[in-house]
């Protein structure tokens, strides 16, 4: 979590925030009206192939970039509203959780930031994190929009979770294509750009990672399918668990 705050001291990381935000927003705007799922709230988000790739490459810059990019997408798309507040938080998590859990979700994770594509670990961890980060984003946004009385939790949490998971899984093709370029030619992998002293250590990484998994998965399944009458309360509790878990990473 430390790196999310200390990265603002680093010029390259600040530029990466802007670049990530601009790419994400440009893609969101391009596809905003293509296939709406809930008009004004969400659509088939082809642009969501980017956040997980950004996250594994650019770390904390991706978290802020994804959040700001979503806000800009709302601004240019004309859908800026109170929902944009938790849209910011949800998309922040979408960009934050993959890189933060990549090293902490043990025993699936081995603690290495660099990605090794060979072997079972990469596809399994990638798929799990694609799902967990999408569900966390879905739970947080759906809870807030239900609080505002805009869209039922059951509907939106499922749409966002499925939508973002599918897009993140497709995004693996992008990651495979650009990882070598970013690592060897551009030298922009986040842990190489940032001063090691600024990166810091997780407070309780593995505990935090599993808290996020429990909050995201339970929040979605219990609230959307098993106890629909208590969806809002489940959504609020799950959001708190996800945010506490995220802070521990």
């Amino acid at each position: 979590m430390t790196a999310v705050l200390t990265m603002w001291k680093n010029t390259r990381m600040i530029i990466l925030v802007a670049v990530c935000a601009a790419i994400y927003a440009a893609a969101l705007i391009a596809f905003k009206t293509a296939i709406p799922l809930i008009p004004g709230i969400t659509e088939v988000r082809v642009a969501n192939i980017f956040p997980m790739v950004f996250s594994l490459l650019f770390g904390p810059a991706a978290a802020w970039g994804t959040a700001i990019g979503n806000l800009i997408g709302d601004i240019f798309g004309g859908t800026l509203g109170l929902g944009s507040i938790f849209g910011f938080v949800g998309n922040f998590l979408l960009g934050y959780l993959p890189y933060a859990m990549w090293t902490t979700l043990k025993p699936l994770a081995n603690g290495e930031r660099a990605i090794t594509f060979a072997g079972w670990r990469f596809p399994v961890l990638y798929a799990v994190l694609a799902f967990v980060s999408s569900a966390a984003c879905g739970v947080v946004i759906a809870m807030w929009l239900q609080v505002l009385g805009l869209v039922p939790y059951q509907v939106l949490s499922t749409i966002i979770t499925v939508n973002d998971t599918v897009a993140s899984l497709i995004g693996v093709l992008l990651l495979l294509a650009v990882y070598g370029v970013v690592q060897k030619q551009l030298r922009l992998l986040w842990w190489e750009v940032m001063d090691p002293a600024d990166i810091g250590q997780p407070i309780a990484g593995t505990v935090g990672a599993w808290l996020v998994v429990v909050g995201a998965v339970a929040g979605w399944i219990l609230g959307a399918y098993l106890f629909t009458g208590q969806a809002l309360i489940i959504g609020i509790v799950a959001t708190v668990i996800i945010l506490v878990g995220s802070a521990l990473l």
Binding site: G78, L150, A177
Partner: protein, 262 residues
């Protein structure tokens, strides 16, 4: 294609300080939030249309007409199945629609459309530079505001590059028009890879350009544009704050709700 929503007019709204507009739009968001009776939310929505007309923002309302219409229709259809009311109108198995839930659905559609309308008035009357400057003066840390404003400037560049890449790939035979959602998603990869590389290559150049000019994220700054709150700003904020307090007071007194607990 112009992706900006700002309309270059010289209305009273355009001349307001960006801080007033940012706080004002938050207060405007609060008005439809206070009610769930379609008559009350409808009155707020009509008021916003009148504000939009005064701010000469109606061309953007027209540009977003399908979205606004869909918002109302979608919510009106969806919500009645999730909100429960005491006067049943129709039921089929576990699905039940009541008079109150139907009215609630219409109100939620109008609420969502009101949010979009308030946002449109703000975006139609505020340039990106004013928005960023307003955020900074509202104590948003400068590096965050800098990233935000840089991203705002880069979006049209990347959108243009994206359009060029699409044309180039289509001319090489990429078919973007056919296939289901998953197949179309996969077809986005040949577009995303060159866009990503093009964009990320900017990073090192931009960072070097900034550092060579002495950019320091945490340095104390002075501003060329000096914002000043005027009498009109205080009047606008006082009127909006009064309306907001009145809306909350009405709701607390039991008005404006078809489903009181929601």
């Amino acid at each position: 294609m112009n992706i900006f929503l700002y309309l270059d007019e010289n209305t009273w709204f355009h001349r307001l300080d960006p801080r007033t507009k940012i706080i004002g739009v938050l207060l405007l968001f609060g008005l439809p939030l206070a009610f769930n009776d379609p008559r009350y939310v409808g009155a707020v929505a009509l008021g916003l249309v009148a504000l939009g007309a005064a701010a000469k923002a109606l061309p953007n309302f027209w540009r977003m007409r399908y979205l606004l219409l869909l918002l109302v229709l979608f919510s009106s259809v969806l919500w009645p199945f999730f909100a429960k009311g005491p006067t049943p109108l129709w039921s089929w198995g576990p699905l039940e629609v009541s008079r109150e839930s139907l009215l609630f659905g219409i109100a939620m559609g109008l609420r969502l459309a009101s949010f979009v309308a308030a946002g449109l008035i703000f975006l139609s009357t505020t340039t990106n530079e004013e928005f960023t400057q307003g955020l900074i003066r509202l104590r948003l840390p400068y590096p965050v505001a800098f990233a935000f404003s840089t991203a705002l400037r880069l979006v049209p560049t990347f959108a243009g590059a994206g359009a060029t890449i699409v044309q180039a790939q289509v001319s090489r035979g990429l078919d973007l028009e056919s296939g289901n959602v998953f197949q179309r998603g996969r077809k986005f990869i040949p577009l995303a890879v060159p866009l990503f590389i093009y964009a990320v290559r900017h990073t090192n150049l931009l960072a070097m350009a900034l550092e060579s000019r002495g950019f320091s994220p945490l340095a104390q700054r002075t501003w060329y544009v000096q914002l000043r709150m005027r009498r009109d700003d205080y009047i606008a904020l006082a009127v909006l704050a009064t309306l907001f307090v009145a809306a909350v007071a009405l709701r607390l007194a039991g008005y404006g709700a078809v489903l009181p607990r929601l």
